[in-house]
Symmetry: C2
Subunit: 573 residues, 2 copies
């Protein structure tokens, strides 16, 4: 539809295709509630005022706000492919997302990013992409792929690509790493996302001066205020692991709110289903005392401005008709969700089907020759470094304990709280296996294995006997990635994550039910109740940038020393 046709409808020379009548419009431009009709045609808002439509829907005085925008999300953390993810979040009112395909990129590189984008096409959800900046996350692990500056350049002008993903390598930025600086320079005219936990003062100036414009790792009022004052947008995060909105609300004012946006970062399907998506961030902000209109502005117009998404995030002539309808301005639960003028969800239910996008190269990513895999942990003596779990936290503590050694090998003792951990390289069939010991998980008589293992997503397996660990590895290979529990030498249960070992084409409900069932099995096998999630507790044990001690396929890594260390705490004799 060209401008001339839009003008005719706006001027009431002919009726609009759809008119939402008698709405209380949340006008994020003016910051006011406005009563009126919204005329829609071919996906666009044409006019606000009094309009007639070929089809009319009476809003009966309910609120109509712009569709919500998630400013930073890893779709992969839902374990769902974009079509199923869209089905989950559109009913919650999120109509556009800025996705960072960092996880699939670690497995499949640019090909993985293109797969995510292609699979999103069949959904009503708008998925804008940031090209991951830090793949692999470190040189201390074997990833499935790399994203080079040339890849960033190649992807820069692809449709729906809007910038560079979170620059986690902030030490590289501060110390002049040419690779990360080159990637930023390539995307400088688009948007560059930050990741700046704890940066302050001159270091924050240095980080921002490169052109990095956002931070979603901000956890305190003071950090929020400093980031805003240095020209960054703060993405106020409320995800499954990390919840910052309530604390950050202490720093939000009418004066500074235009530089604030909401995001989820990582949120699991059961949490989205239970509490909502970006509407949950909005509701928390409202409960903390913020004017609902400002909270909605943050979730809509501000996000669109931050990411340069023109014609998104507002109710005005010429804007996309992404709209949510709800009754209570203080507790936003969308009763209707329109995406580009089409009713796509009603009363929490998606009105569209998710079409799985099939791509053989994505379902064949576990390359492990089992014969190559050695799980024996050779020790010259019994005083060893172990990884102490910190419940519900990606950090760990380094401890030294004395274990039993027999014929130069580690021996699992029945009453021990130690478990053997292996990180098996699974992308290139190198046979790399990193071995270590973990304390504080609680499992007995079995093993847990999975292919979600940040950031390189190798195969991570934990168990109290090598036989079950081997069986778990075998099952993972059989199902092409996912999560597996072996109990007493038998397959207890499994969730296939056949897409890159990270996601599944299964429905959200199936994934949620399966994870619940597997949680119960794990608890029955002794996994401690202090750990919120038996599986995600493992997922960050391989990420060698979070203190204090981690395990990659290349060995045990002391993050505080930023170097590999031997498992033996003392030289053997």
């Amino acid at each position: 539809m060209n401008g001339i046709e839009k003008v005719k409808i706006a001027r009431q020379e002919r009726p609009a295709a759809l008119v939402l009548k008698n709405a209380k419009i949340v006008n994020v431009f003016s910051g006011l509630i406005e009563e009126g009709d919204i005329a829609i045609e071919e996906g666009f808002i044409i006019g606000i005022g009094t309009y007639s439509g070929t089809k009319e829907l009476d809003m009966k005085g309910r609120y109509v706000a712009p569709g919500l925008i998630d400013g930073h999300v890893h779709i992969e953390s839902s374990m769902l492919t974009p079509p199923e993810f869209a089905k989950l979040i559109l009913p919650k009112g999120t109509t556009s997302i800025v996705a960072d395909p960092h996880e699939i990129a670690n497995v499949k590189g640019v090909e993985g990013i293109r797969f995510l984008m292609a699979s999103a096409h069949s959904t009503p959800l708008d998925v804008f992409m940031m090209i991951p900046s830090c793949v692999p996350a470190t040189i201390f692990e074997t990833s499935g792929a790399k994203i080079t500056p040339a890849d960033v350049l190649k992807m820069r002008d692809v449709k729906n690509v809007i910038g560079l993903g979170e620059v986690m390598n902030y030490p590289g930025v501060l110390h002049g790493d040419p690779d990360i600086h080159e990637k930023i320079a390539i995307m400088i005219d688009r948007r560059v996302d930050g990741h700046a936990p704890g940066l302050t003062g001159p270091d924050l100036n240095a980080y921002a001066v490169t052109g990095i414009k956002t931070d979603h790792e901000c956890t305190t009022k003071e950090e929020l205020e400093e980031r805003v004052a240095r020209g960054m947008y703060v993405l106020m995060r409320e995800g499954s692991h990390t919840q910052n909105v309530v604390e950050l609300m202490k720093g939000v004012t009418e004066r500074n709110h235009k530089r604030l946006v909401f995001c989820t970062d990582d949120k699991h399907p059961e949490d989205i289903m239970a509490e909502g998506h970006i509407n949950h961030n909005v509701n928390l902000a409202i409960h903390a005392g913020l004017s609902p209109i400002l909270a909605i502005r943050m979730a809509t117009m501000n996000a669109a401005e931050c990411y340069g998404l023109r014609w998104y995030g507002s109710i005005g002539p010429g804007y996309y008709a992404d709209l949510i309808v709800f009754s209570d301005l203080n507790e936003i639960e969308p009763e209707m969700v329109f995406k580009k003028g089409v009713l796509v969800a009603e009363n929490g239910q998606a009105l569209f089907e998710a079409k799985p996008y099939l791509d053989g190269t994505m379902t064949n990513t576990v390359r492990v020759k089992q014969k190559k895999i050695k799980l024996d942990l050779f020790l010259k003596q019994g005083k060893v470094h172990v990884i102490d779990l910190v419940p519900n936290n990606a950090t760990t503590k380094k401890a030294v304990v004395t274990v039993k050694v027999d014929h130069g090998k580690y021996v699992q003792e029945p009453q021990s709280d130690l478990l053997k951990l292996a990180v098996v390289e699974r992308h290139k069939n190198t046979g790399n296996v990193g071995l270590g010991l973990v304390r504080g998980y609680g499992l007995h008589d079995g093993a847990v294995a999975m292919t979600i293992a940040h950031d390189s997503h190798n195969l991570i397996v934990l168990g109290d006997n090598d036989e079950d660990m081997r069986l778990a590895i075998g099952e993972i290979v059989r199902i092409n990635g996912g999560i597996v529990i072996i109990r007493n030498h038998q397959l207890a249960d499994f969730l296939p994550l056949e897409i890159g070992g990270l996601m599944t084409n299964a429905k959200a409900e199936v994934v949620i039910d399966k994870l619940n069932a597997m949680d119960q099995i794990a608890r029955a096998m002794g996994v401690k109740e202090t750990l919120d999630d038996p599986f995600l507790s493992l997922a960050f044990l391989s990420l060698p940038v979070i203190p204090e001690i981690k395990l990659t396929d290349k060995g045990l890594f002391d993050v505080t020393k930023f170097a590999f260390i031997p498992i033996e705490a003392e030289e053997g004799c």
Copy 2:
């Protein structure tokens, strides 16, 4: 300087080239005043905090704000070329402008736009260009050039071109004129400026739905509120003819101010010198009760956001070091002005020289063969339409009077308040002359002629005798355009506007002095004191879109009927 070098300075690994110490920084991101130093290198702000510099300037607690931005200005209205204009406005704190070269484009088309851009290059001022959308303004006059959709396309991606100039042809937008719609469509991904006097309701929806994003013709609180609510930015104008800021301030709130910007539109050099430039808009808003920080935000960050000027309009790492220094937050009179880190003005004086940009094609735009010009006003009878001046207003009134006719020609009577008006086509030497009669100007024993005659800028001449009118035309031809006064058959004074007949390379002071001198001569010749400006009172008599009656080179035009009319009010016999 690449990102790695910037990082080193931000992290204080080496001193910055320039540090402004002990500043009260107007932080438009946070909306707060922040005390600290500003580190600058190679035109960019590197960091805020505590910094050492190779050169340090102690601000001694004075305020430092971002350089001001004029959101919409016709440079030509200053009668100065960009270098002299820059010299005039930079000391007032305006460091970037969004220029609409509508006047020179009517004379010289794309070539004229390129000339303005090229001539701005030698100045520190950033001149961003909107390509004029309505050249010629109407089909009822002969302009020097046209801007076609193909021209708009050709100019779209030229450096410093940022969008389409004010869409004055709003009837064309509303009634589906394909030419104007095509121009808008070409620039839809950039910025499109509006011009929407009085539009409301469905018509305003229709105007905005095309993608037009601004309006600087807004004069009331209600209009401001409606435009903001429909997603448009309102440019609050304070120029020489039209002053809207004080009235519009009634509609400005903390909630809606982010959609408001300042502009001057048309402002003469003497007014800029006397009261300031955008800082005057800011001061008026502050005097009307707005928080100074919000007023400054409107003049800086908001303008930059409205026009997509990244890295302009804020004090933050990575932004251009466009800065103004002043002592009184409630009355902004810049004491120092930095442009891209260079001190370019101090205590109201520019610290740079204006370099005239010479272009022969611009100084040869008056093409009139005087022998072709016929000034006889033939009348079949004496009852005629005349143009009644409305003091200090671009509108006129249509009146009918009876005049003396001798041998079929109009005869000037000694005590009459009527004067003969001629609009002589001067671009193409067509010999076109439109003739009419004007009442209410007051001149006797002479003639005034000039080549500023909106919008086609033909040669307009007014006098009480044909001989002086001819002499005036001759002088205009001799000086290649400008303003001329003939008194008692002698050249009384003149101002050459040798660039397109609109601007001069002379200094602002020279132009101001000359205009003052010529004003005095005109008053001595009887021009009424009720007319603020003897020359600008003529400049709009040729613009056939402002009611009620105008004269173009093609004849007398009744704007209310939107048609040419004969000068005779009745059929002759």
